[in-house]
Amino acid sequence: MLKFILRRALLMIPQLILLSLIIFMLSKAMPGDAVTGAFMSNPNVSPEQVEKIREKLGLNDPWYEQYGRWIGKAVQGDFGQSYVHKQPVTSLLAGRIENTVLLSLFTAIVIYLLAIPLGIVAGRWTDTWADKMIVTYNYFAFATPLFIFALLMLFLFSFILGWFPIGGSGNIRIDPGSWEYIVDRAKHLFLPVMSGALIGTYGTIQYLRNDIIDQKIKDYVKTARSKGVPEGKVYTRHILRNSLLPIAAFLGYEITGLISGSIFIESIYSYPGLGQLFLQSIAQRDFTVVTALVMVSGAAVIIGTLLSDIILSIVDPRIRIE
């Protein structure tokens, strides 16, 4: 067990190094660096002065020196300065990360709250009208692109019906900590979370339904039935224990989807999180922020996959045998 976890964790290190190298190369390839971005439009700064600033910032050093410097600081949580926002990237991210984590967390919770009961119903009562409806819903969830669904939700519930605010994360005039504040935040979160969750259920429902259908005819279930275990208990005590455990482990894999989803959702609901910051920084050529964001997201996915693999190996020992 420990051996597997260690081996799996060691595999993560070359992945992280490779990721950081690729991201660093990309950041070097971006047209115009931070200096040109910050000073080119300023006619009072001469090319010689720009060159001087570059030298001072170490932008003329060989790439491996720059990489070493960048990764050394990044490990300590220092991603440099944002030249557009004039503040350290780390504090810029810290101000936004709460919003994105909140959004992703609630989206994941709603996905599971919806998908697990629906998957169980569809798997237990196969080919009934309930199953058919769930399968149809799941088919829509699979086929609909996230950004279109989010736009339609925004159009319908915020603009036509006016039930929810059209964007942002909260009213800044309301005193944080009060009940009003929580209600206001919840109102701003509701649509973004629902847009992501309603069509994010696909994988879980599909997996659960298929797995329950497979488990239903297995010998241990037949044994339980022939012993006279009530049908309800066959499901809750016997089948679900086997079917639900892998789902808990899939959470780490979901991170990839949540990250790319947050880019669309945050852009559509003008929700001030990391996804929106990423798009703004790309548009403003603020490359220190872009590289930091891609690095953080990549690392989050790598660590999420690691956690999923480990949890999965704990619940399902067959995976460990290689």
Binding site: F142, T144, F147, L151, F155, T256
Partner: protein, 303 residues
């Protein structure tokens, strides 16, 4: 007394009836499933009108800015109104559909080719080569690809439609490679591959001319389903402003008008038809794709 004549033609015909080709099975499956048939017809209509209508529409008139005709709601002259430059939205819808479809198909084909080659090589050789190739693939699959595509789009010099297709294809083949590799691993253990190896057939010939035909149904199913996905990603990227260059309108270009709150609510005819059209296309392609998937697996067939 006459010898019983063996009718060669009849035998072949009987043989064909007993072993229908994949295309015939797909057709039977679609004809059986009314929703799939409806989807196929609707999708064909959309595709035909998208590719044929630009032949009859004056494209320069479509891109000409007319300030007297700005933001007109749907009318008889302009079926779905006009946009910020007085251009007809319906015409743009058709051209956008054509561009989105062409790019979706191109990305699917290129990514399919890369994934197929990678998966076949990895699965055919197995062992150490497979191990290394799978570790690389595992790494690629954990990359936040949407972010990478956006970064690539911004840093590539002389960015145009072809570079966009290429960038998208680079990030679209991972799943396919893994799928094909797992099937190729099973296939390489079979006798016909071993027989070919013993006869000294070159490896690439075994892979592409002997192994690939046996995986073709898998590839076709996967390609139909990823086509919808690729169209979704392309329009999504164009919506965010990192897709097709400004000169080439896509359905995403029309939807990107919806980033302005005033347009979402008061000028809905500019973005809503494009959004609904994408939705309808996705549902159609997926429905047909599901039928194709069932046809390729005898246990799932309905017909």
């Amino acid at each position: 007394m006459t010898n019983p004549v063996i009718d060669e033609k009849k035998l072949i015909a009987q043989e064909k009836l007993n072993n229908p080709s994949l295309l015939r099975t797909i057709w039977r499956e679609i004809m059986h499933d009314k929703m799939a048939l409806g989807s196929l017809i609707l999708f064909t209509i959309i595709v035909l009108s998208a590719y044929i209508s630009p032949l009859f529409v004056d494209q320069t008139a479509l891109t000409r800015v007319n300030f007297l005709n700005v933001w007109k709601p749907p009318s008889l002259d302009n079926w779905v109104g006009t946009d910020d430059g007085g251009r007809d939205v319906f015409g743009q819808l058709m051209i956008g559909t054509r561009n989105s479809l062409t790019i979706g198909v191109a990305v699917t084909l290129i990514a399919g080719l890369i994934g197929l080659t990678y998966g076949l090589i990895s699965g055919y050789y197995g062992g150490a080569a497979d191990n290394v190739m799978m570790r690389i693939l595992e790494f690629l699959m954990v990359l936040p690809s949407l972010m990478f595509i956006i970064v690539f789009v911004t840093i590539v010099p002389n960015y145009n439609v072809f570079t966009f297709i290429l960038i998208m294809s680079i990030f679209a083949w991972f799943g396919k490679a893994r799928l094909i590799r797992s099937r190729a691993l099973q296939e390489r253990e079979l006798d016909y591959i071993n027989a070919s190896k013993t006869l000294g057939t070159p490896s690439f010939k075994i892979m592409f001319f002997e192994m690939f035909p046996n995986l073709s149904s898998l590839v076709i199913v996967n390609m139909t389903l990823t086509l919808a996905n690729n169209i979704g990603i392309e329009t999504g990227l164009t919506f965010l402003g990192f897709g097709l260059p400004a000169g080439t309108p896509s359905l995403g270009t029309l939807i990107s008008f919806a980033r302005n709150p005033d347009i979402i609510k008061n000028k809905w005819w500019v973005w809503l038809p494009a959004a609904l059209l994408i939705l309808v296309m996705m549902l159609c392609i997926n429905y047909v794709g599901q039928a194709v998937k069932r046809a390729s697996d005898a246990r799932q067939r309905l017909a």
